[in-house]
Amino acid sequence: MADRKLGLKEKYQLMTRGLDWETTYQPMDKVFPFDKYEGIKIKDWSKWEDPFRLTMDAYWKYQSEKERKLYAILDSFSQNNGQLNISDARYMTAIKLWAQGITPLEYYAHRGFCHVGRHFRGAGARVACQMQALDELRHAQTQMHAFSHYNKYFSGLHQAIHMRDRAWYLSIPKSFFEDALTSGPFEFVTSISFAFEYVLTNLLFMPFVSGAAYNGDMATTTFGFSAQSDESRHMTLGLEVVKFVLEQHEDNVPIMQRYIDKWFWRGYRLLALVGTMMDYMLPKKVMSWAEAWGIYWEENGFALFNDLSRYGIRLPKYHEIATKEKLHITHQAWNVFYTACPATGFHAWLPQPYEMDWLSEKYGETFDRFYRPRYELFGEMEKAGKRFYTNRLPFVCQTCQVPDFFTEVDNPMKQAVRHHEWRGMKFNFCSDGCKDIFVNEPEKFCQSYIPPQQIYQGNAGGARTLQEYAAWLHCPMGSDAGDYYSSDDYKNWLKWHGGRDTSPTTAAA
């Protein structure tokens, strides 16, 4: 008998789709209890096109090949003291921020995709989410392994996991992902797969991985590129999921629009950390935050939303504010980090002359008028032996948890603060975007764990001063916190380089 030949698509569909069934001994709504309460209406789950079309055996095969290559490079990196090849030990601040703030997000993503991989009703959707759950586990684990070698030589990494749940600035990424994971399954995929991985990914991933490449960080560059083929699958999933939901029912459009508005704004606020990394932490610069925003949001993002307009989706609310702010936020954030670095797990410093010039070139008048004078003043204080540190922790926004450094878009001298009263309590926000998010879900956002408030309430190991708080974070001055030029990292770096300061003198790689 001649065997019928099956097409690839048909074969994949047979492998996966027919597997699930309508349960009858237990009601479907009990087996899948979470996919209706958001009000999203799905008429036909089979319309979900799984974009990966990977059977498990193919998945194992491709992924194991990538792992073999990756670990071969990581092994040779550590055998050959690859850490000595980075541009300058200041670069490590970017890696510390990654290990403390981003690697935990990979793990959250892993758990979040396990959750939706269990709880979506459609089999195609579930398989795609499960594969992503496994990919995200990969990212968390390969990052631990890549950073493990750096941890042996630099500070700020050994306590990353300890800080993850405690540090004030790490509450920004932590609250972001916990918000996503505690949302309904459709909001979760919209927030992570669409807003984060599809719309904003180039502003997160590209700067870090290119930054690593420009600064001689072979370990990060390698796992970054290795993860990129996973990410391209994830991006596809992000777009597919939004289109699928929008096509299922017109009632879904306003719900999805609200999710997109919310997660655009939350994602954008989170990216303030990444922008600061690009403009200040990389000794060799890739591009400025303002340039990246221009290319990846103002050009690519607009084109995407143009596409989505046929579904009745408009540009996210407050996108024009984000664009206006692009000239300011990274300078404002670095100012906070420079002055509050005794209570962080990384070092900060004043931009060197070549960096001041680069910032002037990229930000023009804005930098020269508002931020250069501040750095020059700090520079004079340093020369006089009075390096300026703040002695209080910043207040943070109830929604995004970013410190209160943002200014009014039309007046960079005026701090932006918004208030809202709910059930007799007063809440503070950094922006209308963050206030709107709270007003839509006050029961959720009144729960925010706000580290500075916790410290004042004695819940940070009883710490009352900034120094005590830093000790509670495992971040003593000199070894983990405080100014770069008085740090162990700097001293060791000089020692390993025969006393020579390797800092670049030009921004170009």
């Binding site: 030949k5 099956l6 047979l14 492998m15 996966t16 027919g18 597997l19 069934w21 009858t24 001994y25 237990q26 087996v31 309460y37 059977t55 055996d57 194992w60 992924q63 194991s64 792992e67 073999r68 990756l70 050959n80 003291n81 000595l84 935990p104 793990y107 758990r111 396990c114 959750h115 991989g117 269990r118 089999a123 579930r126 496994l134 586990l137 990969r138 684990q141 392994h145 493990s148 941890n151 042996k152 630099f154 500070s155 306590q159 996991i161 749940d165 405690r166 932590k174 916990e178 994971l181 505690t182 949302s183 399954p185 959720k444 956002f445 729960q447 925010s448 764990y449 390993w496 025969g498």
Partner: protein, 332 residues
Amino acid sequence: MSVEIKTASIEPVRLTFDHLEARIGKGKAATRYQEAVHDLQVTQNFHYRPTWDPEFDLFDKRRSAIVLGDFDQLLDPRQYYYAPYTIQRARQQEAQDGNFGIVEKRNLFSALSPEWLTNIETLIIPLRHFEWGANTNNCYIAATGYGAPFTSTALMQAMDRLGVAQYLTRLALVLQHQDPQCLDRAKALWLDDPLWQPLRQLVEDAMVTKDWFELHVLQNFLLDGAIYPFAYTQFDQAITTHGGIAYALTTEFMRDWYTESVRWTDSTIRVAANESQENKATIQTWIARWEPRVRAAVTPLAVAAFASQATGVLDSIFTDLAARRVKLGLMV
């Protein structure tokens, strides 16, 4: 740069991360497995309660009746993190792929009698839905469980089950010359044939079991502990004596996988049971609750496959399971 000259003076400042030092002691280097699993899951200072489960924190120990001082003790004896896991499975899939190639090329199923071919169709292929249930359940454990060492392995277990379901699909298609209708027939059996209903009912009940450790015991210890020996040992032995080498070849992955996954299942249950009398009693209660139903669910399949020898086969399967249980310190 002339790294070689300098290496002598470049001493590490520390050997591992603080959170691992706290576990393995100062001055020791951690393994990649330890780095990959320990303390990855957040345990405190949660921001918001889940909108889908507001009684609990996002990750919450109270979701299981099992109490452990440290849930990171639920380690995997195979020490799987992503890299060794995918590399090991890639090896196995290559071997399995080769087996399918031989069976197809040499048309090895033609050696089987129509009776045994029918047995595969009616008693084995519907198990792809059992595997989908096992995928669902392990994915639930991965999502809901506590501690990265256990939950990360549970996700691998879930993906393995999807892999097995797909191998069963492939087996069906090879058997029926790529005619996809054989899958519909198997699904119809799973949905409506009285033979399969006790098992389907049990799988559906498992799917709504909320305690993730109970589900682990039910799915990975009890259900697998009955179905795998039935389908891939007893059935395999019987069919092989009837010229069914093709069956042995096309289900090799399942046998190897089961032998391996039992190590994880047993070791995690042992750790939980050894922690306290209360845990032990809880697990025993679960076993007492579910084991009779598992036996009842496999019985019609065994009767269909082994007729008069069914009782003997079932006794041997459940004696082995009882022996495993006793080795874990769990009495009847």
